[in-house]
């Protein structure tokens, strides 16, 4: 009964949103006003919420007559994983996606009450809820022959990070709908005065969640996949990075629009680009068209409908955009050292970076079509060699961009000299810190973060000297980028590893660490059994034991390795195990210097983003 109620509420939400869209389109066409009140958002939100709760109940009560529950859960699964298993597959994660769109719609209604904004949010919701109901119904039953037990949640997903990473990322993705809706609302309603600052604030919210979500995913992949890598350029990772880059560009463009009344057409187009890029990601992942570690069942029909949704949103939005009367002041009044010009540089480089990554991600599809079915893959070296130079310029121009002024107030050339003096001083002293293992990549890293830090330091100095407010939100976000770049640069240039067969009483060395394999112990948990392989580690000043695991999950008949990690800010010791060979184990031991700075940087960036909410007048 409960699954049917869930479906009913989902259909109800679909009906409410389409009713609002169609009814108001009609009345707007006839009488130039909306007849249906946006208050309809309340019943709308609660129906989506109830639908979500119904699916959760099916999971928590092990109702395996529901196909989706049977495929993604099992009675022996711990309860918190049963709860999270809802977003373990395609159908359920789409329901979570819908829940978040409706949540943002409710919050948007409470804060700004723009009935046009609600209109466009409902357009998006109608499209995606229709998609879920007609192609991916999570409440589908297996009757009358329902299975006794479930197929279990994919063991890779049975991890703490799985309970928070997808929801955080989805909050970010779905929040991108808001800037889009605001931009469209501005196109049809020229009296919407604060649109650019509203749009900026919502983009910051989306950007902060995306930052957190992507970083959580990276951290998870690092410790769970057992290779010690933190970014694989997998199509799924790229599908989250591309919207993030566009959202970053959008924030800057929207700031310029709200402060200087420039770039407003570009801001509207970027907000369209941001959601379209997130839908393209959805398409790539859900249609099974590219091979990826995140496997959703392959289904060309879903892919086609998603493509249709993408095309529809694109054409629909461009029609609305082209009928709008947006005017821009010219950005070219000021000097080449003005903030306007640096925002232009920021946007150009970010968009080029996003397009280059998108190109590498979809190139296998293009190639397959034009070569008559030949499969290729684009390797990590492509992405590394394309992104690093572009990221270098982004970082290099960032510092001066931070302390530049809008063209209404001149930026003095003497500031430029002072900035370069700090920049050189920082680069030299940072390089001195790493003198023992200096290399080109470390020098490049130093120059990148020095550019950012020099800008931040001198900016803070100038603001305080002239008794103006320091923008802490901006400061933290940019500082977070510097921390992240430092982490990426250092771990890529200083990491070391050793692969060997480890035997008892035959210790091996990795840099300063002496590692000994001690033995293994069988262990049985609620839904898996494992071999716990222990190692003793000796360092210059400490001694500790580490345990790596080989887990066997009987329901899905799969094996999972849990790496042994000794984390610290300075470096991680990372031991993963392969097969058992005679008396020993195949072992890969790695040192990951400063790898934690990557995620720490992301945390600081997101913190900066959330900080800006406190100056959020309309929220």
């Amino acid at each position: 009964m409960i699954p049917e109620i869930g479906l009913l509420f989902l259909v109800l939400a679909f009906t409410i949103s389409s009713f609002y869209v169609l009814g108001n389109s009609f009345s707007f066409y006839r009488n130039n006003n909306f007849i249906i009140s946006p208050k309809i958002v309340y019943p709308f939100f609660f129906s989506v919420l109830l639908s979500f709760i119904c699916l959760e109940i099916s999971f928590l009560t092990d109702d395996f007559s529901v196909l989706y529950v049977a495929n993604n859960s099992n009675e022996n699964l711990p309860d918190y994983y049963k709860f999270a298993a809802l977003w373990g597959g395609h159908e359920g994660s789409m329901l979570l996606y819908l829940l978040f769109i409706s949540l943002w719609t409710l919050i948007f209604f409470l804060k700004s009450q723009s009935s046009f904004g609600i209109f466009f949010l409902f357009v998006i919701f109608s499209l995606f809820s229709g998609f879920v109901i007609f192609t991916s119904n999570p409440f589908e039953r297996l009757l009358p022959f329902s299975p006794e037990g479930g197929l279990d949640l994919n063991p890779l997903l049975q991890d703490f990070a799985f309970t928070i990473h997808p929801p955080t990322l989805y909050l970010g993705y779905t929040a991108l709908t808001l800037p889009f809706a605001i931009a469209m609302a501005r196109c049809v309603d020229p009296s919407y005065k604060n649109w650019a600052s509203d749009l900026k604030n919502w983009s910051v919210i989306s950007w902060s969640f995306l930052t957190l979500g992507i970083a959580l995913g990276s951290w998870w992949a690092y410790y769970e996949l057992g290779w010690g890598g933190w970014w694989f350029w997998d199509p799924v990772e790229n599908s989250s990075l591309i919207p993030w880059l566009i959202a970053t560009a959008l924030i800057h463009s929207a700031i310029a629009t709200s402060k200087r009344n420039i770039f407003s057409k570009w801001t509207v187009l970027l907000s369209l680009g941001a959601i379209l890029s997130s839908y393209i990601g959805l398409f790539l992942v859900r249609s099974g068209i590219v091979t990826s570690v995140h496997t959703f069942a392959l289904d060309p029909e879903r892919g086609l409908i998603l493509l249709f949704i993408i095309l529809f949103v694109l054409i629909f939005s461009l029609i609305i955009y082209s009928s709008s009367k947006l005017t821009d002041l010219s950005y070219t009044n000021g000097s080449i050292l003005s903030r306007e010009f640096f925002f232009l540089i920021n946007n150009v480089f970010l968009i080029i970076l996003a397009v280059a990554i998108l190109f590498g991600t979809i190139y296998p599809i293009i190639y397959e079509i034009f070569s008559g079915g030949k499969d290729i893959s684009v390797g990590k070296p492509y992405f590394d060699s394309v992104t690093v130079p572009i990221a270098f310029f982004l970082a290099f121009f960032q510092g001066f961009g931070i302390l530049s002024n809008w063209s209404s107030r001149t930026t003095e050339t003497k500031n430029l000299y002072a900035y370069f003096a700090i920049l050189i001083l920082l680069t030299v002293s940072l390089s001195a810190l790493f003198l023992n293992n200096i290399s080109v990549s470390i020098m490049v890293t130093n120059l990148m973060i020095s550019s950012i830090l020099a800008g931040l330091i001198y900016y803070a100095f100038l603001q305080i000297k002239n008794s103006r407010k320091v923008n802490l939100s901006m400061g933290f976000s940019h500082f977070g980028i510097a921390v992240m770049i430092l982490g990426i640069g250092l771990v890529s240039s200083l990491e070391s590893q050793k692969e060997l067969i480890a035997f008892k009483e035959k210790p091996f060395e990795l840099k300063n660490y002496k590692i000994t394999y001690l033995g293994e112990e069988k262990n049985i948990a609620q839904n898996f059994s494992s071999d716990e392989v222990s190692f003793s580690v000796e360092n210059l000043n400490q001694e500790f034991n580490l345990i790596a695991e080989k887990r066997y999950y009987p329901v899905s008949k799969s094996i999972m390795t849990e790496a042994a990690i000794y984390p610290s800010i300075k470096e991680d010791l990372y031991i993963s195990i392969g097969d058992q060979v005679e008396e020993g184990w195949v072992v890969k031991a790695q040192l990951k210097p400063f790898v934690r700075l990557i995620w720490l940087g992301a945390l600081i960036m997101a913190f900066g983003g959330f900080l800006s909410l406190f100056r959020f007048k309309s929220l």
């Binding site: 070219t332 150009v348 190109f359 590498g360 030949k374 290729i376 893959s377 394309v386 692969e499 060997l500």
Partner: protein, 140 residues
């Protein structure tokens, strides 16, 4: 007004210049980093030209896995049920690696020995233990 036009021109030139640079960068990077997929039969009929790494995929032949006792060197045979080739690899095999299950190896192909020196072994697959490319190769 003239000044204004000139500045706009600079802006446009800047965008064109950056895009052109990026285009060149992408062109060279993609040229050197595309890994073509081959089934064992493809490797016999039409062995790869050029210096790029390739990906070869098939089923791991039952009983073909050989492991050195004192190092991490591994050898196994992959087959598409018509032809088979040897794969050499040094390192840890992924958890999903199994005999008679699908695998994709990335590395450099040696035409004389008909073997692949792999630097990466992937055993990502769907629930039927067959990666997308391997499935296609088996169905040919």
């Amino acid at each position: 007004m003239k000044q204004h036009r000139l500045r706009r021109l600079y802006g446009v030139l800047f965008i064109v210049f950056c895009s052109a640079l990026a285009f060149v960068l992408v062109y060279f990077a993609i040229r050197d980093n595309v890994n073509l997929f081959y089934s064992p039969s493809d490797l016999f009929e039409n062995p790869p030209q050029g210096r790029n790494a390739i990906r070869a995929g098939g089923l791991v032949e039952i009983g073909s896995l050989r492991r050195s006792t004192d190092s991490l060197e591994i050898e196994f045979i992959i087959t598409d049920l018509k032809k088979s080739i040897a794969v050499n690899y040094t390192g840890i095999l992924p958890d999903l690696f199994k005999e008679n299950a699908g695998v994709v190896a990335t590395g450099y192909f040696d035409k004389n020995k008909m073997s692949l020196d792999a630097y990466q072994i992937l055993a990502k697959h769907d629930e039927n233990y067959v990666p997308k490319e391997v499935k296609k190769a088996l169905e040919k």
